[in-house]
């Protein structure tokens, strides 16, 4: 597989940024300073980054409640995200959305989402825009195994096929929806679902950046070429609770430890690129260090940033009223 050096460096940096961002939130949340619900994407970084490495700002994605990773992968600025999670006026959504609603339309990021299954219909619409406006863009709906059962998701698979839309449905399958396993909640298979709606099905190991990058590349190329939607099923493990505060008693002892030991996408990436002589350890170390600094300063800035003011409460309900 041919991947530009630039892409490799950028992707590693994005994955490292997500990891550090989330690990830091895990720590900061425990201090009680972060308001609201926080769902961490740790362990799943290669999925968001591998898919988005095939996209540009002209393409659109929708995310989920577990949205920080997709935002970073799509290029949303880290300090604005951190400030948003702290509810500050410097946040990307001016402190009005919080963790579950981070969005940046200038980056083609149509929002994390507090509603499970909220994204897929929106991506049918984004794909319709790309198609009718002939801008060459595609839409990518990220959603979980749990969300794959929502009527809105299944209806979208049908609509996208009927309208032959340039959408890629990315099922991020971490085996759980909250505290319920997908072996209980998901009937049939994602593959049979895709085939049932007449769309191509692809799958890959979500801890392997290269597998995701390549498979997503094919899926996106298919959609971009006007051949209609594709389902991409990514197999993953989440490293933390459903949200911060979840003790995960429903998971076997050692399940997370094993995922961390054997399926750490950052470790696997490093091993692969250094063994193949594509990148040097020192280059990756430099990225690690730069990201550490970036996250540190984003937290310091977020804590020091001004709070929103009374005028913000009433602003932006409408464009005009």
């Amino acid at each position: 597989m041919q991947i530009a050096r630039e892409t490799l460096l950028r992707s590693y940096r994005a994955m490292r940024t997500i990891r550090d961002f989330e690990e830091r939130l895990h720590v900061e949340f425990a201090t009680g300073e972060i308001p609201g619900f926080v769902h961490l994407y740790c362990g799943e970084e290669a999925s968001g980054v591998g898919v988005c490495a095939n996209l540009t700002d002209n393409d659109t994605i929708s995310s989920t409640h577990r949205g920080h990773g997709h935002c970073i992968a799509k290029g949303v600025e880290v300090s604005g995200m951190m400030a948003e999670i702290y509810g500050k006026s410097t946040g990307v959504c001016r402190g009005k959305g919080g963790s579950m609603h981070i969005a940046d339309l200038s980056r083609g990021m149509l929002g994390a989402n507090g509603i499970v299954g909220g994204g897929p219909p929106l991506m049918c619409g984004a794909a319709l825009s790309h198609k009718l406006l002939k801008d060459g863009g595609v839409a990518v709906a990220f959603y979980g195994d749990g969300a794959s059962n929502e009527g809105s998701t299944l209806e979208s698979l049908n609509l996208a096929t009927v309208w032959k839309l340039p959408v890629v449905f990315v099922v991020e399958d971490n085996g759980y929806g909250e505290a319920t396993g997908s072996s209980f909640a998901v009937a049939g298979t994602q593959k049979a679902r895709a085939e049932g709606f007449g769309m191509p099905y692809m799958e890959c190991d979500g801890s392997d950046f290269f597998a995701v990058y390549q498979t997503a590349g094919e899926a996106i190329a298919h959609a971009r070429a006007g051949n209609g939607p594709v389902m991409l099923h990514v197999h993953l493990a989440r490293w933390y609770g459903h949200f911060e505060g979840d003790a995960m008693t429903y998971r076997a002892a050692g399940e997370v430890a094993e995922a961390k030991r054997d399926h750490d996408c950052l470790e696997l990436f490093r091993k692969k690129v250094t063994e193949a002589g594509l990148l040097e350890h020192s280059e990756l170390d430099a990225i690690d260090e730069a990201v550490r600094d970036e996250i540190e300063s984003s937290v310091i800035a977020a804590k020091a940033a001004p709070l929103p003011g009374p005028a913000d409460l009433l602003a932006d309900v409408y464009v005009r009223y």
């Binding site: 609201g36 009005k96 409460l313």
Partner: protein
């Protein structure tokens, strides 16, 4: 009698009714939790905030049903089961998720009895948590009771304390109509004395949490607590208030509201829901129409602005009614000077 939290009171109501009537079942996302998990632990969550904890272990998988994340199908299934012999209590988790299943509630369950010429009974309870104060932002903080109150065929219950929650939930489960039972998520750890045995609180009978001479305050759900805090403070300043907890918005105890307004001549309404077409508007219309001559001052509403619920704590606090805002509204109606027409 013992101290119980709002959470425990609800759990106990479910437990007692499930023991009493085998047709009572519960369903919802992670009402037990752990199904399909790798640890073998069952009842891993007992509801996202632990309200249904322990019910799975007592009643088993046939009566405590975890669902996939598919609100339209399981809320609809609960409605269908209710119309055919079971008495389901379905949990919608956050009431905001009603967006995913409103048809089954609004066009199906609510209308069966009327559309079918009185031939159907739909003893369905839908439990959901509502309200702001959790920094849960725009899609997890709404107070949607006006939406349900608007729909003929639904009953709508908003318990304002642990005692109220237990009695009203038992009543809801025994009721033969579809009932929307809305729990304020900020109140789950509130405690008070609650009887251990079963009791019911009838729908459509308001509770006066205090009686006074100067101003009537009508408040809903968690706002009842805030209204009483404000009334305590006002009492010390020589202003005495009646505080009415209507308990149910549908049916609404119009008589109690009108009687109290007739006594005090002044009305403040405290409502956490979005201001247009909310309960404050509804009660205002009632009083303007039926008790116009009793009013000594314009009706005042303590309500949020017409915006989604913001995330940041500072904005959420500005958004929500609070005791200080209620106190100010009461003083405003007390200070109202009637201007004589020329």
């Amino acid at each position: 009698m013992s101290k119980k939290s709002y959470r425990q009171a609800i759990n106990e109501a479910l437990r007692l009714e499930m023991r009493r009537d085998p047709r009572v079942i519960i369903m919802g996302e992670d009402v037990a939790g752990g199904q399909g998990g790798t640890s073998g632990v069952v009842d891993a969550w007992g509801g996202v905030l632990g309200v249904t904890k322990g019910l799975y272990t007592e009643f088993g998988p046939e009566r405590v049903l975890d669902t996939p994340i598919t609100e339209a199908s399981y809320i609809g299934a609960a409605a269908g089961a209710a119309a055919t012999g079971l008495r389901p209590v379905a949990e919608l988790m956050f009431v905001d998720f009603v967006g995913c299943c409103l048809d089954q509630i609004m066009n199906q369950a609510a209308k069966f009895r009327y559309m079918f010429g009185g031939k159907a009974r739909t003893p369905l309870v839908i439990r959901a948590m509502f309200g702001a104060g959790f920094n849960a932002a725009a899609q997890h903080s709404q107070a949607l009771y006006p939406l349900f109150t608007h729909i003929p065929g639904l009953k709508v219950v908003i318990p304002s304390s642990p005692y109220e929650a237990k009695g009203l939930l038992i009543e809801a489960i025994r009721d033969d109509d579809p009932v929307i039972f809305l729990e304020h998520k900020v109140m789950y750890d509130d405690e008070e004395d609650v009887p251990d045995e079963s009791y019911t609180i009838p729908f459509g009978e308001a509770n006066l949490t205090r009686e006074g001479d100067d101003v009537t305050i009508v408040a809903f759900g968690r706002m009842v607590k805030l209204a009483n805090e404000a009334a305590d403070k006002l009492e010390r300043q020589g202003i005495s208030c009646t505080v009415i907890d209507p308990r149910t918005t549908s049916p609404l105890d119009r008589d109690t509201i009108l009687d109290c307004v007739a006594d005090t001549g002044r009305l403040v309404i405290v409502d956490e829901s979005s201001p247009r077409c909310n309960m404050a508007a509804d009660v205002s219309a009632l009083v303007a129409e039926e008790a116009f001559d009793a009013l000594k001052a314009p009706i005042r509403r303590v309500i949020p602005p017409h915006t989604p619920v913001p995330f940041a704590s500072v904005l959420e606090a500005l958004y929500l009614p609070d005791a200080a805002k209620i106190e100010a509204a009461v003083k405003a109606v007390m200070n109202h000077k009637v201007t004589e027409a020329a």
